[in-house]
């Protein structure tokens, strides 16, 4: 089992979600987050006072996947989340030790 975290542009979220559903992904957790990588923020001016907003809104997708699905999902996200500009985000993949479905205590991949 692998955990995949993808931080993407909010504007690409709907397309990514739809594309993931098409390749058979049934569950995901989505969070609205703020952050920045290499992308610089923007400035806002209120009555002459400038504020640099460097923490920008992003969407974080989290999903835990059976090993065999990981490549498909990564390809799908790369294809749909990319705009080609700085600030498109990142994907992090890590190994997951165990998954437990709370309702019936199923364990392992069948709990996903």
């Amino acid at each position: 089992m692998m955990k995949l975290e993808a931080i993407i542009q909010p504007s690409r979220f709907e397309s990514v979600k739809d594309a993931l559903r098409e390749v058979g992904i049934e569950g995901m957790t989505v969070t609205e987050v703020r952050g920045h990588g290499r992308q610089k923020g923007h400035t806002e001016v209120y009555r002459g006072r400038e504020y640099t907003v460097d923490l920008l809104p992003k969407i974080k997708l989290e999903m835990v996947l059976p090993d065999k699905l990981v490549n498909t999902v990564v390809d799908t996200i790369l294809k749909t989340a990319k705009t080609g500009k700085i600030g498109d985000g990142k994907i992090f993949i890590s190994r997951v030790e165990e998954a437990i479905r709370i309702r019936n205590e199923e364990r392992g991949e069948s709990a996903l």
Binding site: E44, V45, Y46, R47, G48, R49, Y51
Partner: protein, 478 residues
């Protein structure tokens, strides 16, 4: 034979002639006393009665129209404080201080209204002293449904009193823009009470009160102030600056970003201010007449031109015209046109608005940054600066054709060739500045000794909503 026929015809002729005569004489004979003069005087009495009745009806109709407009205007001016100013300021502060700043405006609707009825009205509009009124109308004694001919001869005295009350309510509320996010509530209540008595009431009397030495109608220095450029905007704006300097900057200013928490609220507030201002300025004609229409038009065009002025200046400097800039400009224009509204024609009104929009933009962006004072919501930059430029330009553009305040055919302002009026305006401006400056320093000292003025560091960090009022504007967990 021939003679007999002739006599017969003669008799018939006489009889016919006598008929109408006798018919006419019959009623006259029944009232011989009035026989000769009655028809003429009866008609003239009837006519003069009718005329008197008509006169009364015209006066009553005018009074009804004037009263309807003035009561509406009073309500419009109240709407400027709440919700207008409360929303405008409320949106500009950080989320944790929203209720506190709104409450500071709302508290004036309670506090100043009561003080006005008790003695404030009398101190501003009672008597005929040069500096301050007297106690003749204390507790609203003698303020009833009959007009007060010294000020407004066609509306009930009560209407005049409540209309002026709304001005007294909004003026101290304007100051809270400078002290936003750090003034404690007890200090606010004490400061505003003292400020109302020491600064507002005397200044209102000097400029508008009978016998006031700055009164345009017969004062020592006739200062034109149609709706409150000196009394309302310079007084509050200058006092706001003094307060901001005295109390110091907000913690974290100017390094920490403090952007407005909701420009949507500010936007709604500014639009309500604009509408309410028609009551403020056009209502200052104190009647539903042509002068009110003239002031209404001048007010609207002043605001519109100022919104454009600020936006264009900002567009040049920043490359963008912001919503906050446009609404701030409109408010600056409304401030500047306030003293001029009932004296200037539409085109000069636009010039005044445009000048105020550009000037106030530079006041809040450049001048404030240069001196580094923390006038949090720009009460001085907009009201102090806008009120000053408006008061001076009133002297330039006031015209006898709009308002012959110095008597028929006497020139009023520079446009009429009476440039000395600019000097009178300057005197009014300087006195308003000096009076607000000195008065506010004294009041601040007293307030600091009694209740304190500024919230402590912990209260300020927690936000005034929680620390001063024990509540939150947005309870996001519920």
């Amino acid at each position: 034979m021939k003679l007999a026929v002739l006599c017969c015809w003669f008799a018939i002729g006489l009889f016919l002639l006598a008929l109408p005569l006798s018919a006419q004489q019959t009623p006259a004979a029944s009232s011989p006393a009035t026989a000769s003069s009655a028809p003429h005087s009866e008609v003239s009495k009837e006519v003069s009665d009718k005329l008197a009745q008509l006169d009364q009806r015209v006066t009553a109709a005018q009074a009804a129209g004037d009263n309807a407009w003035m009561l509406t205007s009073a309500a419009l001016v109240l709407m400027m404080t709440g919700p207008g100013l409360a929303l405008f300021y409320g949106g500009l502060v950080r989320r944790k201080n929203t209720l506190a700043i709104m409450m500071q405006s709302f508290a004036m609707m309670g506090l100043i209204s009561v003080l006005w009825a008790l003695v404030g009205y009398s101190l501003a509009f009672g008597g005929d002293g040069p500096v301050i009124g007297n106690f003749s109308h204390a507790f609203l004694r003698g303020v009833g449904m009959d007009p007060n001919v010294d000020y407004a001869g066609t509306i009930p005295h009560l209407t005049f009193m409540i209309y002026q009350m709304m001005f007294a309510v909004i003026t101290p509320a304007l100051i809270t823009g400078a002290t936003a996010e750090r003034m404690k509530f007890s200090g606010t209540v004490l400061f505003m009470t003292l400020w109302f008595f020491i600064v507002y009431a005397p200044l209102a009397h000097m400029v508008w009160g009978k016998g006031g030495f700055l009164n345009a109608a017969g004062g020592r220095f006739p200062c034109l102030d149609f709706a409150g450029g000196t009394v309302v905007h310079i007084s509050s704006g200058v006092s706001a600056l003094v307060c901001a300097l005295y109390m110091g900057k907000r913690i974290g200013f100017p390094k920490q970003p403090m952007p407005p928490h909701s420009l949507v609220l500010s936007f709604i507030g500014a639009c309500l201010l604009w509408v309410g201002w028609f009551g403020f300025n056009a209502g200052s004609a104190l009647a539903a007449n042509g002068l009110a229409a003239s002031a209404f038009v001048a007010t609207h065009l002043g605001a519109a031109a100022a919104a454009i002025g600020w936006s264009v200046a900002e567009w040049f400097k920043n490359g963008k015209a912001s919503a906050l800039g446009a609404i701030s400009g409109a408010v600056a224009g409304l401030v500047a046109i306030t003293p001029a509204a009932g004296f200037v024609r539409p085109m000069p009104a636009m010039v005044i608005g445009l000048a105020a929009g550009v000037l106030c933009y530079f006041m809040v962006t450049r001048v404030k940054a240069l001196f580094g004072y923390d006038d949090a919501l720009d009460a001085f930059g907009v009201h102090g600066a806008g009120g000053t430029i408006g008061a001076l330009l009133t002297g330039v553009f006031a015209q006898q054709i709009v308002n012959p305040i110095f008597g028929p055919n006497n020139p009023v302002g520079g446009r009429d060739g009476h440039w000395a009026q600019v000097g009178n305006q300057l005197v009014g401006v300087l006195i308003a500045w000096g009076f607000a400056l000195v008065g506010t320093i004294v009041i601040l000292k007293i307030t600091d000794l009694v209740t304190g003025f500024r919230a402590n560091e912990e209260q300020e960090m927690d936000g005034l909503d929680i620390s001063q009022h024990g509540e939150e504007a947005y309870y996001l967990e519920s």
